[in-house]
Symmetry: C2
């Protein structure tokens, strides 16, 4: 593989390309890197590469002509050149993109500086824009270095043993397990027993599980693209049981249209929809709060039909879902039930379509999932009362309108979206499971 780097700072690369495995790979000719000084393609005597932006503003822009000459010159060197512009506007680099690029025969990397390159070069000569992440650096040089390291590691022979590439973080789609070396006891901190056992199978299992756990807790999105075995799935499902989420649906105290505090009626469909949602996402309970006794009795009758009556036989899947649904006369009793079940006080999360205070970001709530039981409270009718919301530890961000502020979802839709935003990231059953029915 051949990589040309177009830069106004070729000297930037001097030392990094000499060091470690990359330095060795270059010496051995496993890949070839050619530093191209953009100034060599200027035709004026001061070799000016930049000029002021049209439209004004601070900073300079890399002129189109020298870049055009450099790129077209370099493209002639091979039959299949691939021009990459390192830029914050590019698609964010990941292991998959690195793998695709490592298959190319000839890469031409353009390092931007200052305010960037003239847009017309992007439009006409650049095949792909790549960004190394959602942050700003001084120029494309460090981004090129990152890209080159990613690609070089994947070229056969660069990293000694294949094993070492594949067990790295991301290469397997997972973060890497923790490593230990001598001494066995370092200032009282001991190496996990299993690693000293000599039992290779047990070590393999320990490491796989540590990788799975780290990835689940720190980068769950990676698991979506990972091949998971039945054992992996079982292990992950077991870890996910530490996330204890309850959904409460309150029929009191809620507002009516005129902002009067009322008790609303139970809609049977809510019990079904929320039960099915809860069962699919592994919630620990769907607790319905309804102070009116006749309403509770009616709802219980419905539940009993599906749990014990004709419904249980007709549709066992529905039975499983409705097993999660319980009916309480007051919010306090429902909360107590969670407290008793979990042995600790849960975090109370309110929902409100037009909150007065800043909401808790879903990412923060996802971190709490590992620490504490969580109760998410939804109101029926025109929503939970302000007095009730004041008792909650946090609010969730409402589900906003897209084209305008209209956000009037049904409680069934809102519950589904909230639960998916909170927990959907942790669903991995897709990979190996095929439903049999």
């Amino acid at each position: 593989m051949q990589i040309d780097i177009i830069t106004i700072f070729p000297e930037y690369f001097e030392s990094p390309l000499k060091v470690g495995l990359l330095g060795k790979a270059l010496q051995k000719g496993l890949l070839e890197i050619n530093l191209v000084n953009l100034r060599d393609f200027c035709q004026d005597k001061h070799r000016v590469v930049d000029d002021e932006p049209f439209g004004g503003g601070e900073g300079m822009v890399l002129k189109p002509e020298p870049l055009y000459r450099a790129i077209t010159f370099l493209k002639q060197k091979s039959e299949s050149p691939w021009v990459v512009y390192l830029s914050p506007q590019g698609e964010v680099l990941n292991q998959k993109i690195a793998e695709e690029l490592s298959q190319k025969q000839h890469l031409i990397l353009i390092c931007g500086r200052y305010e960037g390159i003239d847009e017309r070069i992007k439009e006409t000569l650049v095949n792909q824009e790549v960004s190394i992440g959602d942050y700003v650096v001084f120029g494309g040089e460090v981004a090129s270095l990152v890209l080159i390291e990613c690609i070089a590691r994947l070229i056969p022979g660069v990293v000694g043993k294949k094993d070492s590439v594949e067990k790295e973080s991301f290469s397997s789609g997972l973060l890497k397990y923790p490593c230990y070396t001598r001494p066995r006891d370092f200032m009282g901190l001991k190496v996990p027993e299993v690693l000293l056992s000599g039992n290779h199978m047990a070590i393999e299992v320990y490491r796989r599980q540590k990788s799975l756990e780290l990835t689940l807790k720190k980068r769950p999105h990676l698991l979506r693209q990972t091949q998971l075995s039945q054992e992996d799935l079982k292990f992950l499902a077991n870890l996910l049981k530490k996330q204890r989420v309850y959904l409460f649906l309150l029929h009191y105290p809620v507002y009516n249209k005129r902002k009067e505090v009322i008790t609303s009626a139970i809609a049977n469909i809510d019990l079904h929809d929320l039960g099915r949602l809860g069962r699919t996402y592994g919630l620990k309970g769907i607790y319905i709060v309804q102070p009116l006794e006749d309403q509770r009795e009616l709802a219980q009758e419905l539940l009993d039909f599906w749990l014990k009556g004709g419904g249980a036989k007709y549709n066992p899947l529905r039975k499983e879902a409705l097993k999660l649904v319980k009916i309480f006369p007051t919010f306090e009793e429902a909360l107590d039930a969670v407290h008793r079940q979990e042995g600790e006080k849960p975090l109370l999360i309110g929902t409100d379509a037009s909150p007065k205070k800043p909401p808790i970001p879903i990412e923060t709530l996802q971190k709490f999932l590992w620490e504490t039981p969580i109760v998410i409270v939804l109101g029926t009718a025109w929503g939970l009362t302000e007095e009730f919301l004041a008792k909650c530890d946090y609010f969730l961000e409402p589900i906003w309108g897209r084209l305008d502020p209209y956000n009037h979802l049904s409680v069934r839709s809102a519950a589904s979206i909230i639960i998916d935003r909170l927990l959907g990231l942790y669903s991995f059953y897709k990979k190996s499971y095929k439903r049999k029915d």
Copy 2:
């Protein structure tokens, strides 16, 4: 600010630290970088920094003792040292993390190599683990360079004019607008007129809009954290109208429990829930397919009550939602209506809780959103028939179970989750809007 870098390759940093604005900042003493050779903290005569991992496997691990000595030595240099380990397991660097780190007085960066550092150092001496992205490089050196560049740019005086930092990609929370410099006409490609107009207000608007558009199309998640004005929101909403999504709910052809092809009955609640969902997310239509005439008439009566009858006055918000709902006798007629409305054939996306073919990733469908009208088809009862699904261009990934394969959501829940996964990323109304009701 003082940055100590612990590395086994101090020579790596030689040239990059001399170049450009970072080189100047170091010369001027705006920040101080101190390269620390880990080998200097070895006490054996061969200065060995690595050892084999307990439990076996390829690659070496950085030993705990030299790291311990190096870190504890460096920590004594200031009152508030902050130890960062650059590692793939860390939280992914973004501009917010860079800003936080740029506030520290004294950073100690640890560059890992080989298989990483002994876990016990992480547990006891590291304050924060940072990763530069979801990809693998040779070691922490290039990651340290990236982090240093991000941080250095934020130190006052390093980048000449404040303006230039703030208008960079990400610094404002948006990607940067396209830049142009002379010549006005480059090989037939012209600079946009507005940039030559001298009208500063118009140029400001053009650039803001280009930034918004680029960010919306390439990194919509950044907009969630950006302060958006009413004008911004209006402009974004207008762009989002190019995304033309329809939701179809089919009552025929669908399976019953025994996998016989049937026609199911319309559930009134579906019309309400899907209408409200559609209006909130800016869908272009909720099309209900029902071949039975009496069923269609009943549903139309219900719609008319909310659109023209007593319901329209009682709840105008519901009227807005139900305006999207239309009822068709056949799928073909519903599809034709979209075709006529959009002037082109829409992409047909099927949904299936247990698909036989690999589904289309939601990220791919998000790219199609800008190119073509999209129809997402949901089935009632036990789902769409295989024959129907075979006609679809793609399938969506099912909403999988979390702890086990159970995935039996109501069609209302499934629709809500699918639409939110596809379009929720593009909801920005939250920032400036406060509902008045």
